[in-house]
Every structure is written in structure tokens, then in C-alpha cells.
Amino acid sequence: MTAAHLRKPPGTDSTIPAPEEEGTVPRRRQEIMKWNGWGYSDSRFFLNEKDQVKFTGRRYSLSGAIIPGLKGWMESTFGADILHKISPAPALNSSAVQSPILYEAFLVELKSTGIPFSYDAEDRVFRAHGHCLHEIFALREGKIGRVPDIVVWPDCHNNVVKIVELACKHDVCLIPYGGGTNVSRALECPPEETRSIVSLDTSQMNRILWIDEKNLTARVEAGIIGQDLERLLDQRGFCVGHEPDSLEFSSLGGWVATRSSGMKKNIYGNIEDLVVHMKMVTPQGIIEKGFQGPRMSTGPDIHHFIMGSEGTLGVITEVTMKIRPKPEFKKYGSVVFPNFEMGVACLREIARQRCAPASIRLMDNEQFKLGYAMKPQASSVFTSFLNGLKQFYITKFKGFDPTRLCVATLLLEGNREKVLQHERQIYGIAAKFGGLAAGEENGQRGYMLTFFIAYLRDLAMDYYVIAESFETSVPWDRVLDICRNVKACIVQKCKEKGVKFPPFASCRVAQTYDTGACVYFYFGFNYRGLSSPVQVYEQVEHAAREEILANGGSLSHHHGVGKIRKEWMRETVSDVGMGMLKSVKDYVDPNNIFGSRNLL
């Protein structure tokens, strides 16, 4: 199974039925998911009657647990205060949603195809946003902007072909929808769009069509979400191994359309390494390769027009993926370093020796503290005694400064003996950089953090704290500089913009490559006393992105461009590069049917 903490171990009862044929996501997402926050409706952090943070529901390993350190962490990090609470609008007010623009002729023909569709306000609002801070903030305030006019649910490739044909015929704007987890404003309906906008929800195209065990490939419909893909393959003894942090909700088509990256890319590769074949429906027809081999030398790879196209060229309907036999053994680990500099040096060395495990991540001191605060209540006196002892050993005996130390988390997979040997190798290298093995539990909790951070944001927003993450990739020699400068830039800009509390600016080195690394930033602040917090937030994020670019970082490593980062595309790919991309768009979609206006 994917990340172990996502779900309770088999045997314990589960509130959601494990569907055989049906996917996790129903057509009416609102049945299981929040309309104005992250994830499942039944899972959230809240402050119980004893003022302790508790996580609800039964889906996660943390569900039902009390997290004693979290409240204190929020108070000390953000200056959040339980007396200052701001509750979101309780339910969607349908009257706030503008009435849909409907083309009669289009509707008639759509009906005749038998493909389910809806212009219910809730359905439409659900598909009008991703998870950018300003999008969630507006929803919580009950503010609704331009939303799609119709939602359609094709359940196979042919349905998509029909919808695209109809859209072309009636000049309707199409915006493909996968899991809705983007943080790039990719799903935002362009306010200047006057045509009828149809959201093409791929969530019902969620079958595995075939598995080819000889070639280790599987043909999958592009609407399948990560957890379903892995669960279904798992039943057959295989995995894909693509685990972006959003894999509970994000879809295969979305991964392709944004060039996503998975936590375990060191073993399985990123999305571009995993796709063997794919089909996309465009206004000009269907684009696909006529072969399914491992590699070809036939001019520029047409897959690279599709990957990262962000819904501007067509709808990805089917993908042949590489699959692997399930790993026999898997182990978490962690290493504590005296400071971030040593940690980065160690990761660089591991990358140089090309011996990175499935995943290795280095969290800075701030994130280490957050991870520590996320520790559920110790189950026994003995465990908490042991924890105290460990802490004493590291800070007092080893002389680590608790305000500077940082931790690397590891995930190793494969043959049991090789994993153990690999682990020893990693700890050996770490020791040369002052690193101290710090146990499996710390490692596992580090990975857990990424699944709860979005839930945590919802809690924070109840207490006037707004936050988001962004990422980049950068050459090795720039890693330390970019981390320091971007964090300092955030702090300075917040001060300039009048933020009354010190902001939280934290980063981790999330992926290593031969020539560089992916750096992931968390940024948030307490906005009490600000009149337009979202505007301030966006100005600071903008400044941070400028700082990233000035420090040799990329515009994005895996979040994509969407609309939020469009303004920097030209300097990122050069004038000619823009011209090339534009000419592809002009040929494939001359009437801008796929009118999300992302990327270009």
C-alpha cells in the first residue's frame, strides 16, 4: 500500500466502503469532501473542550488522536490565539452563484449523447477552484466568482471525443477537471470568458483497462486518482510508485498535464519517466503514438507537448504506465543533523554517489519543530520517557542546538537485505556530516506531515493564520543560498507590508537529482490587524517567486504554471520558446476551446 499512515491497517473497520468497480470519488464530490477546505468532510483538526487539538474521522492513522503539542506550536509560531477565532461560512449559498450561461443547441445535443451532466450550483462551484490560498479564503468567506456553467462526467474515451466535438461545434469553452488539487489557479475560470464554460470532470474514467505482466505496463483511464490506482494494482501485486503529496485526491491525467513529481521518484521516476503511451483528445482530433516501446528517436517527443499542457490543448483520456512488482520490504528512517548546512552537504554527497533511497528529504529547523509538534499523545509513560531521553541525548550529549538542528527523513524500499544494507550506507555517509540516526518513527512522522499540512491549514485559517506552499528546483551550489534568501525575503516583505506577527517561513529539500534539488517552501502568517490579508499574502508570494528566480531557481518543479506564474514564462523559456508553444496551441486549438488560459 502507499503511505501506511493514510489508512488504518487492514482488519480495523473502515467507514468508507472499499469499492471494487467504483472509484473513491463519486460524481457528487460534496458527498464526501469539503466544499471550502481540504480533503474529506469527516477529517479535520479541531480544538476540543480541553483546548487540545484533535483530528477527527477514522481514515488516517492520526484520526481520533490528540496532538498535544500543536496548539502551543501554533501559538508560539504564529501568535495565534484561541480567543481570536474566525469561522468560515457554514454552507454554500447557492444564490451567490451566478446563473449559468447555457447554449440551448449544445444542451440538446449533449443530452442526446446520454453523458451525465449538471448545472447545479454546488457541482459548479466545486470545479471552479484548486487549493490556492486565495481560492479557499474566498470560499470560506462565501465569495464566489466566475464558475463553470455546466459539469459533464464522461466515463470513457469515446464520451470525451463526443464532448470535444460538440464543444467545437457550438464554440463552448472546455476546462478539464481531475482531482482539483492544483495550487496554480489552473481551474480558475478566466473572468473575461464570455462563452459557456463546461467543466469536463474525468473522475468517472477511473478503470484499469488492462495489465501486461510481460512488459510490466498497465493501461489506465486518466481520471483515476492516485490512491485508487495503487489500491487496484496492489490487488494484482503491482504498483506504479508515483506518490505526489496529493495522491489521495489527484488524478493520473492531472499528473500528466502538470508534469508532476512523486516522492519516490528515485526508484520509480517522475511522471515523464512513467508514461509509456497516452491518448489526448484535442479539437484537431486524437493525438497518440503508434507504438508502445521503451524509447524512440523520431524527432521531438510529442508526449512533451502533452505533458505540462495544463488543459490548454485537450483532454488526456488513457495512459499506459510502467508498473513494478510490489516491493517486498519498506523502511522509514531519519537522521538528525546539527544544522541545515550539514544536512544539505550530506544530501549532496548522497546524490553524488547516486545512492539516494526511494525518498530522502531534509527539513529545516522550523519544519522539524512542526513535525515534532505533530506527535500524537504518547501511548505510554515509557514512550514519553524514551522520547525525553532521545531529546536529551541529541541536544545535551551531542551538543546539538535545538534551534538549529534539522532532520532528514528517509524511505527505503525493495529487497529486505538490500534495504538494510542501503540503510547502513546512508547512515555511514550521514555520520561524516555529523548526522545521527534518529529512528523510524521520526521518519514516518515526517512523511505524515505532508498529508496533514493541508488539513492543518484549514485549522490555522480558523485562527487568522493564512498559509501555503510553493516549490522550485535549483542547482546544488545554490540550494543553501536560495533557502536562506527566500526565507529572509518572506520575513522582510511581511514586515514591509505591515504584518503584525513574525511569519512562518520554512523549507525542505524534497528531492535530490544529479545536478540539483527540489526545494519546497511553507509560508504563513497571522493576519490579525490587516485589512486585506490575501492581497498582502499574494504580494509576499510574488516577491518570494522573484527571489527564487533571482537565485537561480526554476519557476516550478512540479506544481506547474497555471495562471499564478504565467507572467514569468517568457523569461523562463525565452521568446522563441514562447513562440513555439504558442504555435502549437494555435494549430491544435485555433478557437481556444480549451480556454483555461493557463501557461501562456
Binding site: 551550489d477 545554490r478 543560498d481 536560495i482 536562506r484 528566480l549 533571482a550 537565485n551
Partner: protein, 675 residues
């Protein structure tokens, strides 16, 4: 009613400046020894990784940057990498500081004694010190003092020690090293030594820049250097040198530090120790080589009164905000950062722009003593010729008038308002009694050296007068930046044949361009300067200006006349240089021969009474004039051939420039004016 132009700049009168505190006062009341030995615990940079001078040298020698250059040099010269590495290490040993607190304590003790003997007070703005302390904690700091005296950097370290601030490391010229003992003492008080010229030496440049950058990036100590490169002998700010500024900006531009604070510091001396030395030097008596024994001979200076010193720590300038929207830092993304590259055009002009802004900041915070005004008036009076004696009452009246004017122009004037003006003037005169002669309630410059009145008869006599005039001018020059822009406008108005604003602007812009080697005039800021000058003159009621015309008001006559006289010596100097080049310059004249030749020419004309301003004897002025002519293309420096730096003179152009300076020709409309 004429449309009212909108001026963006603030009223200079409103400039807020900090108060001063005399740090010698406490020295006079408590033990110097205890002061020198007191507990010293400065606030350090928050990101500091402490290291010893030896560790620092190790870091430099192991840096990728230096390794790259060592390999490159080895490849080019065929010398082994080890040997080049050794050479680099030797350079570093020769260069590196060995800052020790004990040496600082020694200086703290001795300088206390010396300062108390020489100076009445050493005044420092404490708010500036507090700002600096904060800056040192936040970011790596670069200290940029003005440079008027050898005293400057000892004084700086002394002040920082006094206020418990991090001690700086100081870039010093190699010439100090010839004074063995003193050189080593300075090294131990934080000086590091750079050869005066190492243009083509790649290895030297690499060691040097890496050494400075390593100290800066690690925030080991504030880096101190003089933007002007050398002591200004004329007390005018010098055109900034960009080399070191380039180096200290590099770590920020390449993302190695988040920001750097650049702190302009203005040190003003009421009386400069080197006053007469400078004047001699400008007149062609060569500069004595620095030697330890020479320094001891200089002991007689210890018996005189040098008034007070004012040190103003300016607002730290954030390099990051300076670069905002002026530099695209991502241009460094496509080359490994350890490979040295020539700065791009964009970077060069940014560094240049920053340097000018910083020198302007130094100028603006320079404290002016009443003597600066008195010296200006005495010089103008002397140049007027006929009656060189001036009644004290008249001088006082004029000084008060000038005091008010300079305040309106935003000068940082320290005129004690609680003392009657006549006393202020006479105490100024008595502090500078070597330069003036007072008799029967009248005063003049001490030009006649006890001889009867009359024109000087010999070159020697003339040079002696020159010493007095140039010494005096060096004080007047301290206040030049206050009057410069209005003076350029006043001269432009007087030399224009009509009231046309366009014509006056053209003339202004010609003069400004001509004098941009002489004064600190930011490149590309002609329009701003013109507007500032117009604003000041209109505000004081001297001018009326509408869209087309500029008119001098009745009450502005005196002001305009004064202001134009401010520029007179310079105008005459540039003209005479032009005339020399047209009339007298021999074929094949080299740059080296230029100054002696033009001096002989000038002496001849001064003796025959063809020139009024003895000031034009200044070699600084002559060199600046030549540089301007070269810049404008009227003179060409030919580097080939037998003689290096042969000057090729375009006589037609030089002649026409001379005429234009004399106001005989309308200025060409070459400069695209947007008015």
C-alpha cells in the same frame, strides 16, 4: 498665471539630521588607560560563523573561485598548480589583516592622548551609531567614509571601539607598508593591504576579491574602504572608484548573501592636518614618501589647534533596495558562480550609479564650519583684485548673508547661533591664522608674506601665494556641493544671450557635462539637477521661471553674482588649459608631461596678469580638465608608438570648447532636452 511646475524633491531645509555628541569629553574626564582596557563586547552579525585570521586565509585558499583561477593561470603560464598556489598564498600573506584587540587597545590609549592634544572635540551622531549597530546585526556591512586625511581610518576604528561596535577591516594602499613598524601596527588594527595597481594580474585580483568576499559573506567584520580611492587633496569629493564596490556587491548579486548594508560616513575636519602638504602637492612639490621617520618629524603638528572633527554616520543603504528594478540578478544563473566574469554593461552602470549616490550621501552629511563660508568670501574678494583688504564688519555681513543662503540650500552648517556673528567670524579667522592677515579691523588672505602689496614678481613668490590660495580653496571646496547646481544654473543664465529657458538649459547642460570630472554629478541626471537648481533659486526668490523664460529678479542679483563667481576659477582653469593645448602644446606631448607644461604656461600668464585666479595652478584642476577634454573627444590619448600616452589634440574642437566656456558661442543643441 503661469503654470506651476511640479518638483518632486523634498525641500532641503526640511532635511532632518541627527545631533552630535563629543566623544572626547568623556576622555578628558576619565582614565584613558581604563578606557583602553575596558570590556569590549560588540554586537556581531547574526549569521556570523566566527573564525580566526588564519582560518579565514585557509577558507580563501580553498575556495572554488581561487582554485579555478589558479588552474587557469597554471595552464596559461606553464607553472605548476602547486607553485601558483604558493604564489597565491604569498599574496594573501602580504595582504591579510591580523586584527588583534590588544593593538586596538594600544591605539585607543595613544589616540586618546593625541586627539585630546590636537582637537577640541570629536563629534559623532549617536543615532547613526545605533542605526549602524542594528545594520551590523542584520546584514554584512560595508563602511564608506569620506577620505580627507590619514587620520580617517584610525579615527573610524577609534569611534567604533568607543561605541562598542564591531571593529572593521580596512582596505589600505600598499604605500603604508614601506613604514615597517607602522604598517604592521595598522595590519594588527585591521588594515589589509592592496597594491596600487594590479590591472592585468589575474591571480592577484582573484586572491584579493575572494579575500574581501569571504570576509563579507561570513559577516566577519564590517568592510571599510574609501570610495574615493585616495585622500582628496582639494577637499572636493572625488569621482568614485568602482573596483572594491564591485567586489562587495558581487555576493549579493549572486545570491550568496540576502543583503548588504552600505553605510556612507562623512568625516569633516575643521582644520585638516595635511592642509599645507596638499597645497604643495597640487602645486607640484612632490608628495613625501610615507616613512616612519617622516611621521615623527610631523610631530610639530601636534602643537597646533585643529579645531573639531564631525563624523556623521549616514543612513545605511540596503543594496537590495538599491538594486531593486535596476538589476536583473538572474543574469548570473547561467554561469557557475566561481568562474570570474566581466561585469555586464548593466552591472557596471548600476555600480556606477550606486557609487555616485553614496558619494552624494557623504557630501550631504558633511558638516560645514563657518570658516568654509568665510574662506569662500575671502577668495572671491581676493580674486576681485582691486581692494584685497576687506573690513571685518563687511566680511561678517557677507558671511551672515551666505549663512542664510546656504541654509536655504540645505547645507549641514554648524554655525553657533547663540554667539554674535562677528565673534563667529573672528574665531574662524583665528583658527586659520596661517592663512589670513588681520590688521586695523581689516582682513585679507595672507598672500604677501610680509612684503609690501603688489603683484608677485617671481614664480617662486607666486607658488608661495598659491599655497595659501589652494589651502583656502580646500575649505571653500567643502561647501561646493551645496552651491554647485544653482551655480551652474547661474553661470548658464549669465552666459546666455536671451531669457529662453531652452537656451539656458542647453548651456547648463553643457557646463554640467564639461565639469563632470570636476564635481560629483550623477551620470544621466541632468534634468533632475536642472530642476533642483531652478527650484532652489525660485524658492529663494532669485528667479522667476515659466514654460519659456527665465528671469532674474532684482533681489536675486546678488545671489546670482555670488553663485557665478563660485564657478569662476574652474571656468578660467578649463579655459586656460584649452588655450595651452591650442597655443603652446608641443607635438608629441605626453600625458605625463602635460601637468608641468601647463603649469609653466599658467605661471607665465599669472605673472603677466592675464589670469586672475591663482587657483588654476592646481594640478587637480588641470588633470580634470584634460580628462574632460579626453572624454569629450577633443583630445585623444594614443597609447601606441614610442611614448606612452601621447596626446593628440583636435585644436578646432578644443578652441570651440574654450569659446563656449567663455560664453562667446551659443551651445550646440546636442543634448536632447526634455523640458
Amino acid at each position: 498665471m503661469a503654470s506651476k511646475p511640479v518638483y518632486l524633491h523634498r525641500d532641503p531645509m526640511l532635511k532632518k539630521r541627527d545631533d552630535f555628541e563629543d566623544i572626547l569629553e568623556e576622555r578628558r574626564n576619565s582614565s584613558d588607560l581604563r578606557y583602553a582596557l575596558r570590556c569590549y563586547t560588540p554586537v556581531l552579525y547574526k549569521g556570523l560563523t566566527p573564525c580566526t585570521p588564519t582560518q579565514l586565509m585557509g577558507m580563501v585558499l580553498q575556495s572554488d573561485q581561487l582554485h579555478h583561477v589558479i588552474k587557469q593561470v597554471s595552464k596559461e603560464t606553464g607553472v605548476t598548480v602547486e607553485d601558483v598556489g604558493k604564489e597565491a598564498a604569498d599574496i594573501l600573506v602580504e595582504m591579510a589583516h591580523r586584527l588583534q584587540l590588544s593593538t586596538i587597545r594600544f591605539f585607543a590609549f595613544t589616540l586618546s592622548k593625541v586627539f585630546k592634544t590636537l582637537f577640541r572635540s570629536v563629534c559623532v551622531n549617536e543615532e547613526g551609531i545605533q542605526r549602524l549597530q542594528q545594520a551590523i546585526y542584520e546584514h554584512p556591512v560595508v563602511l564608506l567614509p569620506s577620505h580627507r586625511s590619514y587620520m580617517d581610518f584610525l579615527l573610524m576604528s577609534y569611534i567604533l571601539y568607543t561605541y562598542d561596535l564591531a571593529l572593521p577591516v580596512i582596505a589600505a594602499g600598499m604605500d603604508f607598508m614601506s613604514m615597517k613598524l607602522v604598517g604592521e601596527m595598522l595590519r594588527m588594527s585591521g588594515a589589509f593591504f592592496i597594491r596600487r595597481s594590479f590591472g592585468g594580474d589575474k591571480l592577484y585580483w582573484a586572491v584579493f576579491s575572494e579575500y574581501v568576499k569571504t570576509m563579507l559573506k561570513n559577516g566577519l567584520a564590517p568592510i571599510e574602504f574609501f570610495l574615493e580611492g585616495t585622500r582628496s587633496r582639494t577637499c572636493k569629493s572625488l569621482t568614485p572608484k568602482l573596483g572594491l564596490l564591485n567586489i562587495v556587491m558581487d555576493p549579493f548579486l549572486k545570491g550568496e548573501v540576502f543583503d548588504v548594508s552600505l553605510v556612507p560616513i562623512s568625516i569633516s575636519y575643521e582644520r585638516i592636518l595635511e592642509e599645507v602638504l596638499y597645497a604643495r602637492e597640487l602645486l607640484g612639490v612632490p608628495k613625501p614618501k610615507e616613512s616612519t621617520s617622516g611621521l615623527f618629524k610631523a610631530r610639530k603638528v601636534l602643537s597646533e589647534d585643529y579645531g573639531s572633527i564631525h563624523v556623521y554616520f549616514g543612513q545605511p543603504v540596503s543594496l537590495r533596495s538599491l538594486a531593486e528594478s535596476r538589476v536583473n540578478r538572474s543574469q548570473f544563473n547561467l554561469m557557475p558562480r566561481h568562474i570570474p566574469t566581466r561585469p555586464s554593461k548593466e552591472i557596471q552602470s548600476f555600480v556606477n550609479y550606486s557609487a555616485y549616490r553614496l558619494v552624494r550621501a557623504q557630501e550631504e552629511n558633511m558638516v560645514l564650519k563657518p570658516w568654509v563660508l568665510v574662506a569662500s568670501l575671502l577668495l572671491q574678494n581676493q580674486a576681485a583684485g582691486q581692494r584685497r583688504w576687506m573690513a571685518l564688519e563687511e566680511l561678517t555681513e557677507q558671511a551672515v548673508w551666505l549663512r542664510d543662503l546656504s541654509r536655504q540650500f540645505g547645507a549641514f552648517l554648524h554655525w553657533p547661533d547663540h554667539i554674535p556673528p562677528s565673534e563667529v567670524v573672528s574665531s574662524s579667522l583665528s583658527l586659520h591664522q596661517g592663512l589670513v592677515r588681520i590688521s586695523e579691523g581689516r582682513v585679507q588672505l595672507a598672500l604677501d608674506q610680509g612684503l609690501g602689496p603688489g603683484e608677485p614678481a617671481s614664480a617662486e613668490e607666486l607658488l608661495n601665494q598659491g599655497v595659501i590660495v589652494l589651502s583656502c580653496a580646500s575649505y571653500r571646496n567643502q561647501g561646493l556641493h551645496v552651491f554647485l547646481r544653482p551655480a551652474l544654473l547661474a553661470s548658464a543664465i549669465l552666459s546666455s544671450s536671451s531669457n529662453s529657458k531652452q537656451e539656458i538649459f542647453n548651456s547648463f547642460s553643457f557646463l554640467r557635462n564639461m565639469f563632470s570630472n570636476e564635481f560629483i554629478l550623477c551620470p544621466g541626471a541632468t534634468i533632475q539637477d536642472f530642476e533642483e537648481a531652478s527650484y532652489l533659486l525660485m524658492k529663494t526668490g532669485a528667479l522667476k521661471m515659466n514654460q519659456q523664460d527665465v528671469v532674474i529678479m532684482e533681489r536675486g542679483q546678488r545671489m546670482v553674482a555670488f553663485l557665478s563667481r563660485v564657478l569662476d576659477p574652474f571656468l578660467q582653469g578649463y579655459q586656460v588649459v584649452c588655450r595651452f593645448l591650442c597655443e603652446e602644446a608641443a607635438e608629441g606631448l605626453t600625458e605625463k608631461q602635460f601637468v608641468p607644461a601647463v603649469r609653466t604656461f599658467i605661471i607665465k600668464h599669472l605673472l603677466t596678469g592675464g589670469l586672475r585666479h591663482a587657483e588654476v595652478l592646481s594640478s587637480d584642476l588641470q588633470k580634470n580638465a584634460l580628462a574632460a577634454l579626453i572624454r569629450l573627444g577633443a583630445v585623444q590619448k594614443v597609447n601606441g608608438g614610442a611614448e606612452k600616452g601621447t596626446l593628440k589634440i583636435n585644436k578646432v574642437m578644443v578652441n570651440s570648447l574654450e569659446d563656449t566656456l567663455g560664453g562667446k558661442l551659443p551651445t550646440q543643441k546636442a543634448i536632447a532636452a526634455r523640458l
